[in-house]
């Protein structure tokens, strides 16, 4: 496993100068961080030259404080049994990335999801306008600055009388006039 990982790291670093690796996982995982321009070529290289033929997932992490999105591509090699995470950071105000659905057709679906849920644009993506959300008019809902509770409060009618975040044990003991036993007190919040 270790030689296999070192081999992958050496080959990637020899071909892509901007790639930095993270190799402190005890299991079959490797991380690479690259610039966003390198994404199509590194994925092409992983797929065609190194046997990472399966695209497991494309995901996105919202780094609100740093003003960036981190897009994560997870590829899997059935021959070596290793998964490689390829990560890149893009600007949060102008989230544009190269479309990779000519490498894997199924990337189209993930890209549509990211476009709808995070507002990440993929250049040349051919897809219908809507993916899951119908008639959505708000901002992309998976962004961290989107306040779901406030949006739900504004959009939907709430039944009055609901009080959230109550201490269940305290509320029930107060309602029924019971003492909280000592052994239960140490689990207090």
């Amino acid at each position: 496993m270790k030689e296999l990982k070192d081999n992958i790291i050496n080959r990637i670093k020899a071909n892509f100068k901007d790639a930095t690796e993270k190799n402190d996982f005890s299991y079959n995982r490797l991380d690479f961080h690259v610039n966003k321009e390198t994404i199509p070529s590194i994925l092409f290289y992983l797929k065609d030259e190194m046997g990472f033929i399966h695209l497991s997932h494309i995901s996105c992490v919202d780094w609100l404080e740093e003003g960036e999105f981190e897009v994560v591509f997870i590829v899997w090699s059935p021959k070596d049994k290793i998964k490689v995470f390829v990560k890149t950071r893009i600007d949060r105000n102008n989230p544009v990335l190269d479309n990779i659905d000519m490498i894997w057709r199924q990337a189209n679906t993930y890209e549509r999801e990211l476009k709808e849920m995070f507002g990440v644009q993929f250049t040349g993506l051919v897809a219908p306008e809507e993916f899951i959300l119908e008639d959505w008019q708000g901002p992309p809902p998976f962004r961290r600055d989107f306040d779901t509770a406030a949006y739900a409060e504004k959009t939907f009618w709430h039944r009055p009388g609901r009080e959230d975040a109550q201490n269940v044990r305290e509320t029930i003991s107060k309602r029924d006039g019971e003492e909280i036993p000592d052994f239960a007190k140490k689990y207090e919040r």
Binding site: L133, Y151, A152, T155, W157, H158, R159, D164
Partner: protein
């Protein structure tokens, strides 16, 4: 004699009595609560002994079960299904999501209170309700039908504008057929 008030009462009584013993439920699951319907229908809890059984299409069904959370996208379909159903028709709100949002109280895409959008005859609470609770809810509905109090469909027809206004508030792109029942 035939338009007599008392004879109408007898007709209503017989009508309600027959209706309450054949509740056909539309096989349509909207949320995770639909997973409780197969055990309710099959041999362990065998709800067919109470006359509760599945129906394949909306036009054959009497009861629309809203099983759990309802997204805005599903609400569109549910309204369409409900309006296609023939009289008599009843709605059962199933699970705490239909009552006050349940664990999806702050979700951006699920409705919180079902009876703003559809007339609910019986609510079954629980997250999720066990088959005993489901059958209890159906028995309650049967009781209400027998007493002639399950008048949700009538209420919907009479207050259609109010319901439509609520529905259109959260479904901005309204491309639905208008039924003239």
């Amino acid at each position: 004699m035939y338009n007599d008030k008392n004879s109408q009462k007898i007709v209503d009584y017989i009508q309600n009595w027959t209706r309450k013993h054949s509740i056909w439920v539309l096989a349509y699951g909207t949320g995770c609560g639909a997973i409780e319907i197969p055990p309710t229908m099959t041999s362990r809890y065998d709800s067919e002994r109470l006359g509760i059984r599945g129906a394949a299409t909306p036009r054959q069904a009497d009861v629309l079960l809203i099983t759990g959370y309802l997204t805005v996208k599903t609400l569109k379909r549910v309204i369409r299904v409900y309006e296609q159903m023939q009289d008599p028709k009843y709605v059962i709100g199933f699970g705490s999501c239909t009552i006050n949002g349940g664990m999806y109280f702050d979700s951006y895409n699920t409705i919180k209170v079902l009876d703003k959008y559809l007339p609910v005859d019986v609510y079954i609470n629980g997250c999720m309700p066990r088959p005993e609770a489901v059958i209890q809810g159906f028995v309650k509905l049967q009781k209400r039908i027998g007493e002639g109090r399950a008048t949700g469909a009538k209420h919907y027809k009479e207050n259609l504008e109010w319901y439509r206004a609520n529905q259109k508030k959260i479904i901005p792109n309204w491309v639905m057929p208008e039924y003239n029942w």
